[in-house]
């Protein structure tokens, strides 16, 4: 095929060669498609005086030249972004077993809820008389989240899990300060997600890392050894990032509480235990939830999410504010907790994401949520067993919502690494699992099928993963996976080059 020759053609908005349906050429940027003087935009007829720029602002502040933006027709705009969308994998195209990310199906009814004018066109500063419906949604969501976590009160402000973590650490700090204590350290297990240590630093604390025992849980002895009254608290994910439930959680909680520390629950993995066990009942004091994971609000290519933080009674008055509240007369308003740490969002949090989660929760109810956990765990365990023999099983226990397997033996035997497995899997029609995390498992493949994938999909995924290992081991065809992916719009990209020759804008090209 003479694609070389054809790429001489000037960038043309109506040429679809970058759409995988048609071919494999790069998509021009919107800047390449731009033509001076072209336009899409139009505006309301305002009938206002047509004052010129100098009549509107002091001349010395006027831009010397206009900001150059792409000038394209609406047609070319649509062509460009539609083609880009065809260059993007997504849950709606197929399974996305990315461990720790809970890439479950995002119900379409939530999209409609979030698009409805009566929610989406409400100004965040409108007085409560204009926002009773919104406030009721937020209050109900908070109540449901508290029931699910076994907590007393919550803030819906944090915009994602990491923001929730920071909120939790600031609450921890304020709590200890109020008790007249200065504590400097927060404990995290070595299996923790990277946001945990990063948040600890932002919260003004130092990280103390504690190891993992042979069953994949927190090493209780090691934990006890580092616990003292300088410890502000511990951050745990339970089930942890190995997909394992902390069997000694009651003992851990007791030990931390004994030195006056608080337990922080990273709720990224809450999907596994919905309706089965609640962080509050396990002894946690602060919980953040990833609504974009457990409650199916879509990940948006990397966001937005929402990371509400729920706390036990003793921390409730410290929560950020203003908080939506239900008044005695059944109406709704805003209220600041009496000893609030302040505020964590420009407004009230990622409201439309919260609305999606409310919808999801109403659809599921108590019985549906419990089943979500059961099937998520069932799927992960089935897949783990299916992969036995093909991959190493990191910790051979019943897993929760995800399983971590390792390509270590495979790599030793055939040279095929976890990354190669991931890339080959793309060719076989699946998104790859998370690789090389958690850091404590060599050649980790962290697979989270979620409850919305069917047994047939699991079987296909299991077969694909097995095939990759078998190709390498029995058929000596590791090169096939090392060359993968070959069916995607681009092949393996050179990550090192991107960092070495940084080109992060069109204007930095050449």
């Amino acid at each position: 095929m003479s694609s070389e020759r054809v790429s001489l053609v000037p960038a043309a908005g109506g040429r679809a060669l970058s759409a995988p349906l048609m071919g494999h050429e790069p998509e021009p940027t919107l800047f390449d498609l731009s033509m001076t003087g072209r336009r899409s935009a139009s505006f309301r007829t305002s009938d206002l005086p047509e004052w010129g720029p100098e009549e509107l602002v002091p001349p010395e502040l006027l831009a010397e030249s206009p900001v150059a933006l792409p000038e394209v027709s609406e047609r070319d705009l649509v062509g460009h972004f539609t083609r880009l969308s065809h260059r993007q994998y997504s849950v709606d195209l197929g399974a996305y077993p990315l461990g720790s990310c809970t890439m479950k199906y995002n119900p379409k009814v939530c999209d409609e809820a979030a698009a409805a004018r009566h929610f989406a066109a409400v100004h965040p500063a409108a007085p409560p008389s204009c926002t009773q419906g919104w406030l009721e949604v937020l209050v109900e969501l908070e109540e449901m989240l508290c029931e699910i976590t076994g907590m007393a009160a919550a803030t819906l402000q944090p915009a994602a899990g990491a923001a929730g973590e920071l909120t939790g650490l600031l609450l921890m700090r304020r709590y200890h300060e109020a008790a007249g204590e200065e504590r400097h350290r927060v404990i995290i297990p070595d299996s923790a997600h990277g946001t945990n240590p990063a948040s600890v630093t932002l919260g003004g604390y130092e990280v103390t890392t504690v190891g993992t025992n042979e069953r994949g849980g927190v090493d209780l002895e090691a934990l006890r050894a580092v616990l003292d009254t300088d410890v502000a608290g511990i951050m745990l994910t339970n089930p942890n990032t190995l997909g394992l439930f902390e069997e000694e959680i009651v003992e851990i909680a007791a030990a931390v509480h004994q030195v006056g520390g608080l337990l922080y629950y990273d709720g990224a993995n809450l999907n596994a235990i919905l309706g089965v066990v609640r962080p509050g009942d396990m002894g946690f004091d602060i919980v953040h939830l990833n609504l974009h994971k457990t409650f199916a609000t879509p990940h948006g290519g990397g966001g937005p999410g929402a990371g509400p933080v729920a706390v036990s009674e003793r921390l409730a008055e410290l929560l950020p504010g203003p908080r939506p509240v239900r008044l005695a007369d059944g109406t709704f308003s805003w209220e600041r907790p009496s000893r609030s740490i302040g505020r964590l969002h420009s407004w009230h949090g990622n409201a439309l994401v919260l609305l999606r989660a409310w919808t999801y929760l109403r659809l599921h109810g108590a019985d549906g949520l419990r089943e979500v956990a059961e099937i998520a765990v069932l799927n992960a365990n089935w897949l783990k067993e299916r992969l036995r023999g093909s991959y190493d099983i990191a910790y051979d226990r019943t897993v929760m919502h995800e399983c971590v397997v390792s390509a270590k033996s495979l790599a030793d035997e055939t040279g095929l690494r976890a990354l190669d497995v991931a890339k080959r899997l793309l060719e076989l029609g699946f998104h790859a699992p998370t690789v090389y995390f958690p850091l404590i498992v060599k050649e980790a493949l962290m697979i989270e099928p979620t409850e919305t994938e069917s047994p047939q999909t699991l079987a296909a995924l299991g077969q694909a993963l097995e095939l990759i290992a078998r190709e390498a081991r029995q058929e000596g065809d590791a090169s096939s996976a090392r060359a993968a992916p070959r069916t995607t719009p681009v092949r393996r990209v050179d990550e090192a080059r991107a960092a070495r020759h940084l080109v992060a804008t069109y204007d930095q090209r050449r």
Binding site: H24, T29, S40, A41, R44, S46, L48, W51, A68, L69, P70, E74, L84, R87, D111, R117, F119, P127, Q132, G133, W134, A159, A160, A163, L169, H193, G194, T195, T201, I273, H299, G301, G302, G303, P304, G305, L344, H345, S346, W347, A351, V353, L363, D367, G368, V372, L378, W382, A422, A432, P455, V490, V493, D494, A499, L502, V503, A504, Y506, D507
Partner: protein, 449 residues
């Protein structure tokens, strides 16, 4: 099954359990200590059908008053009623963008990666700086990250903060600063301009000024630049991306870091979120940049490709030494902004900026003709202004809702005890017509009588 999106049939569940050698789903949770297990299930209603839930949503929605024909929007304060065309909603809601996650596998994520690359380019241009990241949560988060960058870059945690900065952003910054112990020094406003005289010459990490500021005024960025030079600080400008269609960019006025709220770039009012934190800086600070950055590279066959880059700054690699803790950001909003800016084009952005400024001027003149209504600031503004009314601002807002106008936002939080407290902040965008403004002025006149 009862969970609406679980595909498994009872028979399949039984088969899977058998494969695992388990006799019930409960067996999967054997590792959970009996003492803490939830007895009796969650105290929530059981599952409901989509139709039932939709019905309830409709009912709740009717308890809200969205802006539009029956509630004409003059509220701003960080959230603006700009034109967003159908094409932006249509493209930004494509499910490939909506249901993807962070582009960890670049070979099947070129769509989001390229869109973010284009977004970064446009934000860099709007801010007049070289680098922009792939988004942060919102304006407040961008400010917080900007201060962190400045403190880390300068080694000084003294932060000189204009009270012209959005008071809610200031509060977020203060809430956060309590953690790492940044030392915030607030600089008061005089006539709408930041008064730098209180700042002193001590070394500082950051000078933070908003342009335009919360009161809509075009604050003195040059003065701020001088202060930053004097104190060794990074100059952070909180800017409004729409204003860049008319005004000089923060970069061209000397800012080192520009942070802003990207909502005006195609994002619905959304009751305050999800919005979009804009973040740009100079190349020298790129290794301290918070959040994700997309860069260009080649694939193994030499094809132009995109990938997230300078990943060594990020939490999943650098952990407690990361430049920020951010992981999930607001990518979909960044994609939305790229589409909106593509729709606007050079001229469209100018029209939005000029149209807004015209509407604001016309509205201000109309409202100031009302008896006992006065301007609260003297400095020239852009699309927003504060008015002193003879009645409580909150009361005026309530009364005007009845007349079909969202009159603005009462200035209170963050201005307690200043002459700005209790004023009414009124915004006008290019969507406001003469007829709407005249109607608004007439209604306000009645309402404050």
């Amino acid at each position: 099954m009862r969970a609406p999106f679980v595909p498994h049939t009872e028979a399949e569940v039984a088969e899977m359990l058998a494969f695992l050698g388990l006799s019930s789903l409960d067996d999967l949770f054997a590792a959970v200590p009996a003492a803490v297990r939830l007895a009796g299930g969650l105290d929530l209603p059981d599952h409901r059908s989509e139709a039932d839930v939709t019905e309830r949503l409709f009912e709740l929605g009717e308890k809200n008053k969205p802006v539009g024909r029956s509630l004409v929007c003059f509220a701003g304060a960080g959230a603006y009623d700009h034109e967003v065309p159908a094409v932006v909603r249509s493209l930004a809601s494509r499910s490939e963008f909506v249901t993807a996650y962070t582009p960890y596998q670049p070979e099947v994520s070129q769509g989001v990666l390229q869109a973010v690359f284009e977004y970064q380019t446009m934000v860099a241009r709007l801010s007049g700086l070289e680098i922009a990241n792939g988004s942060l949560y919102d304006g407040a988060a961008a400010l917080m990250e900007g201060v962190n960058l400045a403190v880390a870059a300068t080694g000084s945690s003294r932060v000189l903060l204009s009270t012209g900065v959005n008071p809610r952003w200031r509060e977020v910054l203060a809430t956060f600063s309590h953690g790492p112990g940044h030392d915030l020094v607030e600089l008061p406003l005089r006539d709408g301009y930041t008064d730098f005289s209180a700042a002193g010459d001590e070394p500082a990490g950051a000078v933070v000024v908003a342009f335009p500021n919360y009161l809509g005024c075009l604050d003195d960025l040059r003065g701020a630049r001088e202060l930053a030079d004097r104190t060794g600080a990074r100059l952070l400008a909180c800017y409004d991306p729409v204003a860049s269609g008319l005004l000089r960019s923060p970069g061209s006025l000397g800012a080192d870091v520009a942070v802003g709220e990207g909502q005006p770039l195609g994002v619905a009012l959304s009751f305050g979120g999800p919005y979009l934190g804009l973040f740009s800086c100079r190349s020298k600070d790129v290794r301290r940049l918070p959040g994700r950055l997309v860069g260009e590279t080649l694939d193994s066959e030499g094809r132009l490709s995109y990938v997230t880059t300078l990943r060594a700054r990020e939490q999943d690699i650098r952990r407690e030494r990361a430049s920020s803790n951010v992981c999930t950001n607001q990518t979909l909003m960044a994609v939305t902004a790229a589409i909106q800016l593509g729709w606007l084009g050079t001229e469209g952005l100018q029209q939005v900026a000029i149209g807004s400024a015209r509407a604001a001027r016309y509205a201000k003149e109309a409202l100031l003709r009302i008896d006992e209504v006065e301007a609260a600031t003297a400095a020239p503004g852009f699309r927003e202004f504060a008015l002193r009314l003879p009645v409580e601002a909150e009361l005026a807002v309530e009364r005007l809702v009845e007349e079909g106008y969202l009159a603005g936002v009462a200035v209170r939080e963050g201005y307690e005890g200043t002459d700005l407290e209790g004023t009414l902040l009124v915004a006008a965008t290019e969507r406001r017509t003469r007829q709407e403004i005249d109607g608004f002025a007439a209604s306000l006149e009645k309402a404050i009588r």
